[in-house]
């Protein structure tokens, strides 16, 4: 095909699968994206990919999705072929097709001076089609190695590792402390962003392929860690990085201040009809979300759906510019302002906010106001990331009403407390320390995902899971035919 559609981008404008109307979707908990899409439109969008010589999109995608290939296959209507290409690098394309911020798109060569190809929409369409056609079925390995691997944690990293290891014939058991398999994919991400049925059907696939799941299995708490080491040939810790970062300002002890993840999890449990202790309900309240990231946005959107009186999302950082900064060139991830789906639905964003205190003005023990300074930061680029270096205060002592405060300013590392006495080493950033083979200092014990690399997005977790599977397989068998994902000769864009 090569040059079948070098000019597709000249013929068609970018047209992704849309989100549903904010005014409508805000009233329900079903997914915010349009439910259906038009095949013709997606095929046209596929032709916008020119199959270029240096598909930077693949460099932008951490796990190296073979984007030009599946774009072309979609443009030809070969959905089955496209699905196979997609699955070759990504165990769970719907996890990313629905929730990924899609770093591939700003890396697309068209994004250089035009609108990029709708890669994310195409990815979603391929996998939607795969499920709809019944093409995604359990594919158990043809033979077993007799080796047993325990995976602790069933988030995307754990699940990807499980599927990969199972494919090479190892017997895999996944331990999950919660009552559902899926980790953050189930309880961390709101239903309206990612329907739980999507996780369930994958878990079903994995189960049928032979992966064993044990829920309510809190390793280090109700299952001794040593038991895993004794019974399995290898153990992988994919326990995430859910230890939230603290807000060290006066008044933190007041009621009404919650961790974002606690808030989201409770709503998620309620949605799935489960029993919820001490539900946090924003109905009729002034809600302030601390933190300008994705979790913050999910809190904003959840608060809207709970019919909060007002929702304010505050960010310590400068509002991103509308244009790419000079020292943040293509194809790097652009540090620019993007309106989130949550803000599209309503709410207020505040930037350059340095929180100075939580106030309980009516002394009922619960917060009702935030005090903050409006500041200005100096940034410096370090290791490809913008780091705040100095602060200047512009306005002091501003206030904002807040009856519910949701803290979503990130996580500080893995919840490694249960492993504290195992001798496992952790880093200064509270992540689990691993060597270049992803093994911890304990032989046969590996760590992957947020637990070892720190908080990140779903696509990295999948990549980590695939990589750790490769490493564990190599550890068990001497070599591995499982492909590497993140750890290749061509690391994702940004690092030479």
């Amino acid at each position: 095909m090569a040059d079948d559609h070098p000019n597709g981008f000249l013929k068609f404008a970018r047209k992704p699968i849309p989100y549903r109307d904010p005014a409508v979707r805000i009233g329900d908990y079903t997914e915010v994206y349009a439910k259906d899409w038009d095949e013709g439109q997606l095929r046209e969008q596929g032709t916008r990919c020119m199959d270029c010589g240096v598909p930077t999109c693949m460099g932008g995608c951490p796990i190296g999705n073979i984007i030009p290939d599946f774009n072309d296959l979609v443009s030809r209507g070969n959905w089955l072929g496209a699905l196979a290409r997609l699955h070759a690098t990504n165990n769970f394309p719907e996890f990313t097709g629905y929730t990924c911020p899609a770093p591939c798109e700003p890396a697309c060569v068209l994004a250089y001076n035009n609108d990029p190809v709708t890669i994310k929409s195409i990815e979603r369409a391929i996998v939607d089609r795969g499920w709809a056609e019944g093409w995604i079925t359990p594919e158990p390995p043809s033979s077993r190695t007799g080796k047993r691997v325990a995976i602790v944690g069933s988030g995307p990293a754990g699940l990807a590792a499980a599927q990969q290891l199972n494919r090479t014939g190892h017997e895999v058991t996944v331990f999950e402390r919660d009552d559902e398999i899926g980790g953050l994919m189930v309880y961390g991400i709101p239903d309206f962003k990612f329907g739980k049925y999507q996780v369930a059907r994958r878990v079903d696939q994995l189960q049928r392929e032979g992966v064993l799941f044990r829920t309510g299995a809190n390793v280090g708490v109700n299952i001794p860690f040593q038991e895993l080491r004794d019974e399995f040939d290898a153990v992988c810790l994919a326990i995430g990085a859910q230890l939230p970062r603290e807000v060290p300002v006066p008044g933190r002890q007041l009621k009404g201040i919650y961790w974002a993840m606690e808030y989201l999890t409770k709503e998620n449990r309620r949605q799935s009809g489960k029993k919820v202790d001490a539900m946090i309900d924003a109905h009729g309240k002034n809600v302030v979300v601390l933190g300008g990231g994705d979790t913050g946005a999910d809190c904003v959107a959840t608060a809207h759906r709970q019919a909060a009186k007002q929702v304010v999302q505050i960010s310590i950082n400068l509002r991103g510019s509308d244009e790419r900064p000079v020292d943040n060139p293509w194809p790097e991830w652009p540090m620019i302002y993007r309106e989130t789906y949550a803000i599209e639905e309503g709410g207020v964003e505040e930037f350059n906010v340095n929180l100075t205190g939580f106030v309980d003005s009516d002394n009922d023990g619960a917060v009702d106001q935030l005090v903050f300074d409006r500041v200005e930061w100096t940034y410096e680029k370090k290791d490809g990331r913008m780091v705040r270096t100095a602060m200047k205060v512009r306005e002091e002592g501003l206030t904002i009403p807040a009856e519910v405060v949701l803290v979503a300013i990130g996580f500080q590392g893995a919840e490694s407390a249960p492993f504290a006495n195992t001798g496992i080493e952790v880093t200064a950033r509270s992540t689990i320390k691993t060597d270049h083979n992803m093994m911890t200092n304990l032989p046969g014990v590996f760590a992957a995902g947020d637990a070892s690399r720190g908080q990140s997005i779903v696509v990295w977790a999948i990549g980590e899971g695939r990589d750790v599977a490769h490493c564990i397989d190599t550890y068990l068998m001497g070599s591995s035919r499982l492909p590497a994902s993140l750890r290749t000769r061509n690391p994702p864009i940004g690092k030479l």
């Binding site: 095909m1 040059d3 073979i66 492909p483």
Partner: protein, 1496 residues
Amino acid sequence: MKTESGLPTLGATRGACGVGALIDLNGRKTHQLVEDGLRILCNIDHRGARGAEEKTGDGAGMLLQKPHEFFHAEIPTLGDFDSYGVGQLYVPKDQWKQIALKKLIATVCREAACRLIHWREVPTDNSDLGRTALLSEPAVRQMFIEPIDPLTPEQLDTRLYVLRRLIEKAVQQSEICGRELFYVCSLDRRKIVYKGLLTCKQLQLYYPDLSNSRIKSSIVLVHSRFGTNTLGAWELAHPYRTVVHNGEINTLRGNLNRMRTREAVLASEKFGDDIEMLKPITGDAQSDTAVFDNVLELLLESGRGLPHALRMLIPEAWNKDKQMDAKRRAFYDYFSTIIEPWDGPALIAATDGYRVAAILDRNGLRPCRYCLTRSNIVIMASETGVLDTPANEIVFQSRLKPGEMFLADTLERRIVPEQEIFEELTTHNFSGWLNENRVRLNEIVKPGAEVEEVGDVTPYQRASGYTLESLRCLVQPMAEEGKDPIGSMGNDTPLAVLSTRHKQLFQYFLQLFAQVSNPPLDYLREDLVTSLESHIGRQRNLLEETPEHCRQLFLESPILTYRELETIKHFERFRSCVIDGTFAKGTSLGTAIADLRKAAVDAIKHGCEILIVSDRKIGPDRVGVPNLLAVGALHHHLIRSGLRTRAALVLEAAQPCAVHHICTLIGYGADAIYPWLAYQSIVQMGRENWLSAEVGETLSKFKKGLEGGILKVMSKMGISTLESYKGAQGFQAVGLDPDFVREYFTGTSAYLNGVGLDEVERELLEQHELAFGNKIVGNLPLDAGGDLYWRRDGELHQWNPATVGQLQYAVRTGNYEAYREFANYLNNQDQRLQTIRGLLDFDIDEHDSIPISEVEAVEEIWKRFSTGSMSHGALSTEAHEALAIAMNRIGGKAGTGEGGEQIERFGTERECSMKQVASGRFGVTINYLVHARQIEIKMAQGAKPGEGGELPGPKVSEEIASVRFTTPGVGLISPPPHHVIYSIEDLAQLIHDLKCANPAAEIHVKLVSEAGVGTIAAGVAKARADAVLIAGDSGGTGAAIKTSIKSAGAPWELGLAETQQVLLANNLRSRIRVRADGGLKTGRDVVIAALLGAEEYGFGTAPLVALGCIMLRKCHCNTCSVGIATQDPKLRAKFGGKPGHLVNYMRFVAHEVRELMAELGFRTMDEMIGRVDKLRQREISHPKSGQIDISQLLYQQPSHDVPRKIRDQNHKLEDKLDHLLIELAAPAIQRGEPVMIEVPIKNSDRTAGTMLSSVIAKKYGPNGLPPDTIQIGFTGSAGQSFGAFLARGISLHLEGAANDYVGKGLSGGRITVDTPKDAAYVASQNIIVGNVVLYGATSGEAYFNGMAGERFAVRNSGAMAVVEGVGDHGCEYMTGGVVVILGKTGKNFGAGMSGGEVFIFDEDKGFRNRLNPTMVRIDEFKEDRDLELVQRMLANHVIYTNSSKAKRILDRWKEHIPKFLKVIPAAYAEVVERQLAQGKDVRVAPPAPAERRKVA
């Protein structure tokens, strides 16, 4: 040649030259003829060359009949003419060595029943010789030999032939010191050869014999050589024993291999058992001419006549010639089953002592003019006018046509017409023999399914090295479009040997291609000379002809279908035999090959005529021998065993799925291929909804795509027929172990010693394991590939998401540190080996290091930088100008590329200082040339060496068309060769022409790195170019076939090192500047290039990236989304590059260079050039490259010369006729006053009028002077390039005749040539001007009172011309102007013609058969405008030249109108009509009415 232990270079040497022959048809032996021969030699001196000194020629010589009278006077004891033979020998000068030699020879003579009756010391005078010639000078001796028993003259000839071989072999095998100097110039009863490493003039001085009036002959052949290397090459001078040759045999390697294998079955009554003593018939370490001479001699001595033997070796292009006489076709057809054509540009004149035959190659790539005088003497030479002969003495004048043979017989005292020759040659009933014995495969193919049953092919694909990319980017487009797909932006992946990934053996072989010493062909426009047909099966004794000889199977194509293979397998008349090309897992590959060889030999010994090597048994337990290895191993083993001709080698092969694969297989000896897995893959792709067509159609399209691809690759090397390409080994091996190459690919040049059988086996088994081991769900079915387009987990590309963005960031922000990060990524290759320079390290001695402040400034260094020549047309105006501005700002050079340049840019910052002259000659006018600081002759281009280009109609915007002097919307073709350069002396001529056009400009020649490029570069230096560019294979913004991007040409490091070594070895280095380009990106790259010998450095891709290119590789689609490689105004608007970005880049590079210079301790660049001692091999741990040996690359060539340019070339402009013309035209030049000049002219007065034009253009710009301001009348025979680039305002009139290239690049002037009034020949039947007249003319007029040679008005874009007949390929690629032809045309008229109009006076109504109708149509001649135009041109023709033919036509004009035809390209006609409808006539206006010429 090979420098001591440096890089091997391909072939012995390359030479081309001037040829002359004199034959007294009356058989009178005179000394006058010898004198005249020497005179001719002096007049073709300019076609030969000089070595490092002016006094050392490349070789000159003369063949004449044995001067019996002279010898008899010297040696009274001699018997009569027929009783003895005389040998002319080179022997060592040392007396003692001579004595030993003489003793040995005497012994051999006795053994051969001969008596050595006398030794004669040939007097020689070396007082005028140059140093090189003196250093290698032998002594010359004659020996006189009689048979002991009485013999007939013919028997004596045979005896002497055998004796010579015996002597040669005895000396070679002896221990005698200086035996390597021994050489037999001739040993013959009938003729003798005087030759040496001499200039033309020196020949007579050196051999006083030749001045002796007793030396008489009725036949004289002379030769002036232009060799690419001169060192001690006394024996390389022509004539050889039978022939003189101008040109080059491209197919030599295959011809040699086949000769070797034929030796086993040679038999002849004439020789009897003696035949064994002749073997080997010819040898490896000889020039192409020597080999040809050896074989011709064998055929002659075995009893075939001279015409017969020549016609066997060099047949006409008969396959597609439907007009050819049936008997003649049958002759060629029959002999094609015995021997393959020896192909390449060639004028060969040969003699058996009584007759002289001359023959021209099928393409007519060398000139040959001849005439017959009243006294019955034939004068034949590369040029006309070589022997001053009054017109009234000449009764007939003509030229040799492509493929034509000429025979002058001194016994029959006449020129024998070709028709008559063939009557003699076709006495056998060849067509009857063929009908009875030869079987055509297409007539016996059994009906049945075209496609076999196909299961899951994936494991087979994986085991055979298929990748997702090869399927998607090569197989799929070929199956859909039937064409090898196009790509762009060159190659930036590592060589196979440097890659960590599995590579197929094919990928270690890089295609060779023609450059300079022979031309590539245009297989599309000149398809009549090409053929993919072949005969396969058992070949028999070369020296006989019997009906059984043609008992062979005829194939239309080497690519077989399923049914065809099945038919061959089951056909009973030929015994076929399938041998298994797989081996059991667990056996070693070496054993498998040994088994394979044994099976083949056994099969042949049991009578197998068609060996089918099949790897169909590949499976979980059986591994396929790599197909190329199987072919090479079998082919060479069978050659060595003398069995190769006994059976055909057919492959049923899994691996080949792309053009390069097929070409390597055929090139190493496969006769036919059934690519079963490729076919099956297509079936599977179709089944899986990958293809947009039906299975049957996709399979035949795929086959068609492969066939077209083979033709292209063959053409690139200048080879026309599959028969000659087969086994021609047109490849260089890079990264293979030399022993491995010697064993399986014998005779291939091998560079970078590396991978051998063990590594091949290791990769093979790994791949097999991946294919048939347990399948892992989800994994990619095949490797991603990523050779063509970057894939994250595919092959490494230097340009990738990290580097592209990083470089752009660095240059936009001016951040050197950011650049360093970019450079480090590329420079530090410990983990990512990418290039040959990655294997090199600097030998830094800290004591030598100096502070950076002592190193010359960035501003000094970057003057040596240039941007690659990328055409305006390929690039948008914006990008093209940004490059020029940046390079002008830093004092570097930007190249125009081949598309010309807008006049408005001249004299501004936007002007490119380096102007290119490429094969298309777009926009090349005298005005363009005089504005250049450098003129670049593009011989080849890195991305697609040996190919032409096409600019599709939609890309030809108004702007592009106006610069290129063409019509908007009409597509343009750049021919693969410059049609004025088929040979090295032609290049010398173009260099001379361009130097005349702009004496102040430096002329540089762009070559592409390949094995042997050093030899070519030496030739270029001798052709007096000021600089030579060695371009690497990797660069290239141009669109090219992906096969070419990936598989042709070599990295610049190899070519550069070889060039430096060869130039130094030949003491030529100090007079030519060496440039390198092709993927240079960093300062380190520049320093490596400097140390390897380059003084200047070109950058192509990196500057584009600096200006915003993001390597989309869509240049060929016109959809470049960043506005660089597009003409779409909307996209051009998106161009965001600034000259400053490029300046920043160049500064960074120069700065990095300085840093390294400081470390190395060099204060100036000059000190660094050629310091290869400062490089060493780097320690690298790499699966394959651990074993690479690059010592050849780092060889320090001993030389008396300086490793960089320190002196100027002598362009020999001082004695040009134009100095006189300029002086006489002073009033016109200074004041615009009309002047009239009359001067005589001779053939050595070349390029007349061009320096004068240069003066006019410099002073008066593009418009020149008013017409006829300077009128010059010449009488005589004008040398080549008469009136080249003639400026407006100058009119040249010639009475007499002219040679090749008249009016080349005509830029507004007028040229008229008429016939002397007293001529004894008929003007309209006389060849009055030579080949390739008006090539690339842009405007002006020309009137020729006679016929022209081949390729008249090729690439004319605006000139108007009248001529009375033309040769083959008339008006090819023409894009504009008007040509009126009053007589016959040759074949293939109007091929590739996309513009302009031609009016043909088709009196014999035969024109339609000679037209190539692909692009043009024939219209009636009736439109008023056309009638007026032609009438005006004819009237002018009569006035300027007195043409009686034109007069006759005009006299009865009405009556003659219907006999005219109008030829017009269809696309052009449409544009004309569209424009006319809008009231605009884009056609050329009629010329002004002529005035009768006044004589001064």
